[in-house]
Amino acid sequence: MKYDVVVVGSGPAGSVTARFAAESGANVLIIERRQEVGVPVLCGEGVSKGVDEFKVLEGKRWLANNMDGARIISPDGTMVKLAADMAGDETGYVLYRDIFDQELARGAIRAGAELMLNTCAVNILKENGKINGVKAKQFGEEFDIEADIVVGADGVESKIGRWAGMKTTLKPYDLETCAQYTLSNVEFDRAYCDFYLGKKIAPGGYAWIFPKGKDIANVGIGILASLSEPGMSLKLLDKFINSRPELKKGEPLRFLAGAVPVAEPIESVRDNLLLVGDAARQVDPITGGGLMASIEAGKTAGETIGKAIDEQRFDKEMLLPYEEKLKNTLYKKLKRNYVVKEIILGMEDKTLNMLADSLKDYKFDELSTLSLVKALVLKHPSLLIKLKPLLKLSRL
């Protein structure tokens, strides 16, 4: 079995990479460990409306609910509202993530990529020290898939990179460990994604309520693995729900666990190999959101691969423009937000309360982490000292 490119993983990063590589003329195979693309869902299912700009989705079958804004609720209940100026002016979406992933995979297939389900990678293949494919397993049978370029889009586990000798192992303080229910029989008169902060609610993370409709919502929690005890996410999630009457009457339709890297992006390119998405730690370290980053990186990766196939050169130098381009765009934001993440982690609950109180009537000009940081600095010039490395990064 021989392809130009084998992509391990059919999540958004893998499918978008496959799509753009195939559109540039590459012969692409995606392998997926699961028996259905996008299932089980491992996600809070919230995304910024900026996702539209990539033009990688057809129709709206993936859309569960339009969001008017986000609200951050501090430990003492003070609310900071980041909303669109006009009512009905959408700022984000809550997704059906399974359909979302299937639509992205369909885009790759339409572009000419092949997709093999129930197939997991068990190792990378090497010939004379050079990576030339993956060893795969399907229904108990192992076989070789040869390829000039291997794409590790294997999510938080990032085994492909590890097998290639890259340092993909996460430190516990760079991992959010998550649990989530999709609750029915709850009521929402508003279209906001809510984020609850506080050491007692979610140490080193937050709890969230993302309404998927009028009477249904994803209610979840993420806590920093370095602050976690065994099973703590689930216990604190149950506590969060039981302490809120509007959630307590909810009945779960779905339960899931999740693991989100909140690290800085890592080395993502070697000869004949490229990592993309969660595998390359392309996730916003503050929110844990990775969809936008995965799609942006996947597009860049696919286009770079297309050029490599044209020139029939697959060495690191040929693939490096992928990483270089991201360093000038996406990675600036991710590195900046990693600094902010560390500052927030160092804050006591009373500091968060004080900051929230100072921002509770603030009118935000846009809904972004940067606008939140700008507002904080305006209100609290003393924060500038802590944020200095951050501002330096922003100017880069």
């Binding site: 089980p40 938080v156 192992t169 460990t177 065994p230």
Partner: protein, 62 residues
């Protein structure tokens, strides 16, 4: 008596992959949507046990 090693409760594991991402020994793999610990490679550091959101991993003495 043998050394303690991490053990995954297959009934509880929801295949999030968090344990795999933090294992310093590359001792955990996902197999049929459940995490499995290789007894040979596990050094009982306990990192995966603490990282599991649903408490599906414990250490057992073999």
């Amino acid at each position: 008596m043998g050394k303690p090693k991490a053990l995954v409760d297959k009934g509880k594991c929801l295949a999030c992959g968090g344990c795999i991402s933090v294992c310093p020994q590359d001792a955990i793999t996902m197999c049929s949507s459940k995490a499995i610990v290789s007894k040979e490679n596990c050094i009982d550091c306990g990192i995966c046990i603490h990282a599991c959101p649903v408490g599906a991993i414990s250490n057992e003495v073999y």
